[in-house]
């Protein structure tokens, strides 16, 4: 569903792109690498038409099998690779990206989620830039006129309303993160790092302009990715909302995508000892029989993170169902409950034995 949307959105953007009105030069690699962030998104020339988000040369759209839930915002993702550079395959963790590589993610709300290509309000475009000194996270917030996105370092709150997939009107107190908060999720051993671009989470079909193709195959074929083994050896994160996939794989994939970026041995929540990244194989580490450590009221009067067969007794499900700061998980990135995600995790716990 989300993948389908991403492809649709990318196509729509390509199709809708009017004759480029802005500078049509290549991506401004120098601006990306500068230690002073550009004041506007346009300065990087990542898109030939910034408003229509028509990708410039070297910028490729992609999607994830199981992404982070962000208050139902639709996210379109792009990877920029400098000329002649490529990503290196890694069987675990994110693929290795060269200096200059930039991950681009635009958060947007269609007025009605059932018509995702119509009346889209762009909220923010986040960049993760690989500078020589390491990764840097920046976010650019779109103006009300939707003509320009401007650097916002200290965060911002925006009222957003939309109609959800069930036709219900929704209100969101949308939170643009501050620069430090980007790092709270995008952190490995205290340094900023990409999360989504793991081989296993990219291992799915994307509807490119020239036709559908597996992303790892496409990246390899076009020289974007080096070192990938044969396709039978590619790891894969399940698609959390694909009912054709095994429930356990969907549940673990959802927890990986929504919790595992902090809850892993090198992440922001390493001190909890609760590790929800997909690689974690020890039941006590991914919550079974594990008592909370620093949860405080977040325990919700429950004693165990994950009780097989009993979602109502599992702290993980309790915290996913909360919208109260200090209780809700994840701590950042949502203000409302992800009903469908919670349902998958509850089912996964209920059928576990």
């Amino acid at each position: 569903m989300r993948r389908a949307f991403a492809a649709l959105a990318a196509l729509a953007l390509l199709g809708a792109a009017p004759a480029p009105a802005q500078d049509t030069g290549g991506v401004a690699l120098k601006a990306l690498l500068s230690s002073t962030p550009a004041p506007t998104l346009a300065a990087y020339r990542l898109f030939t038409d910034d408003v229509a988000q028509h990708a410039n040369t070297g910028v490729t759209p992609y999607a994830l099998n199981t992404p982070l839930f962000s208050d139902y915002a639709e996210k379109s993702r792009f990877l920029y690779l400098p000329p002649g550079k490529h990503a290196a395959y890694r069987p675990e963790g994110a693929v290795e990206l060269p200096v200059g590589a930039t991950l681009i993610k635009t958060f947007a709300y269609p007025a009605d989620l059932r018509r995702p290509a119509e009346a889209v309000r762009r909220i923010e475009t986040r960049l993760l830039i690989h500078r020589r000194s390491g990764w840097v996270a920046l976010t650019y917030v779109w103006n009300d006129e939707q003509t320009q996105a401007v650097l916002k370092r200290a965060g911002k709150r925006l009222d957003v309303s939309f109609t959800d997939a069930h036709g219900q009107a929704r209100q969101v107190d949308y939170h643009v993160p501050n620069q430090n908060q980007c790092k709270e999720c995008h952190s490995l051993s205290g340094r900023i790092a990409p999360i989504g671009v793991k081989a296993r989470n990219l291992n799915g079909v994307f509807a490119y302009a020239e036709g559908p193709e597996n992303q790892l195959a496409h990246w390899t074929r076009t020289g974007m990715l080096m070192g990938a083994p044969t396709p039978d050896k590619w790891p894969r994160t399940a698609v959390w909302d694909d009912p054709a996939e095994p429930l356990a794989a969907r549940g673990r994939a959802y927890l990986d995508g929504n919790c595992g970026h902090c809850h892993n041995p090198k992440g922001t929540a390493s001190n909890t000892g609760l590790f929800l990244n997909l690689e974690e194989a020890r039941p006590a580490r991914y919550g079974i029989g594990k008592r909370p450590v620093a949860a405080g009221k977040g325990s919700g009067d429950l004693e165990t993170d994950l009780v097989p067969g009993r979602p109502d007794a599992s702290i993980i499900a309790f915290r996913m169902a909360s919208t109260e700061p200090g209780v809700m998980m994840p701590e950042l990135g949502r203000s409302i409950v992800h009903d469908e995600g919670l349902a998958v995790v509850r089912d996964y716990i209920a059928r576990m034995h």
Partner: protein
Amino acid sequence: MKGLLITAAVAALLAGQAQAKTLTVTPGGDVQEKLQTALLDAKPGDTVMIAAGRYELTDGLSLDVANVTVKGAGPDATVLSFKGQKSSGEGFLITSNKVTVRDLSMEDSKGDGIKSKGVDQISFVNLKVVWTGGPKSTNGAYGVYPVSSTNVLIDKVTVNGASDAGIYVGQSKNIVVRNSTAEFNVAGIEIENSMNADVHDNLSTHNAGGILVFDLPNLPQMGGHSTRVFHNKVVQNDTKNFAKKGAIVGDVPTGTGVMVMANRDIHVFDNDIDQNQTAAVMVVSYTQNYDDLTYNPLPRDIAVHDNRIGKNGWAPQFPGGDVIAKAMGGTIPPVVWDGVTNFTPKGMTAPIAVHVHFTDGPVANLHFAAPGNVFSAKPDVKPTLDDGPIAEPKPVVLPKAQAGL
């Protein structure tokens, strides 16, 4: 030559000072943006000065720049209120090294108060962290919360109302907690899965439990040891335990003075421990199930000596406490030990030795057959229980810059 060198050194010093600047934030306007922007703009060596006044924040604050001081005009003058906080797990998060936060108050954060994660040289000085509605289970968990940090200084801090521990130091190393006050929290001060802590000259009162030294299983940093708890006042801890279930401190009986759970080399001495209805000092094993081969659930090499122990233990609030108290003449003796000594780690043939040096008698040995096995209790009371002196951990020495704060 020597003169030249000195001149150069002075010049370098002056240059360093010239670069350090003070970013002042004043009340009024969008204080969330103003304050967070200053915390983002600060460069190493800078001070972020938060002028006197009240600041109504809508989100958590965070600092990720090393060697920065965040300073208010005093805890009664600079007040950060998080009553309207809409996101983040704490009021103020610090993730960079060599940071001092001092001279301000924080109120009503939705989660924890002020937290440092993975920081070397973190100092919390002259702070107040308060939940203004009094003790409630809906208050945030920890007031002052360094975790996975090294060289931790907590000095002249007051925490009031935390639904877990007021001052909580977790999975850290080289720690000093001094001159501080913890009141109306579930636990006053808690040192957990940590190495080398000196907890001294604090007042812990009106909590459910005064001072706790715990070691828990299944955490990245295991094997807590070497904590000295001395010259504190641990008096009248009488707030009914208001923690949510699940939190380990929820199991601390109301009216506990000092509690040591698991751990080794813990020394409790020269404290005033008075008016705690359950017990002055409890030394117990971890009783829950766990799946962690690296964990030793028993307290061992524990010394309790030369404390001034007043009236405690007259109405113990743990299961079976009234029966045990009756069997001991109506009150729980100053030191209660579960008496478990038979823990043999997997792969070893004999139990790990347990030594105790309990000279503040009388001492109740409950002789549990296994951790938490109340029904196996064969309590007896002795004037003292002493396997001989236990070497005291060396005083904690902090880096010079911190020690001088």
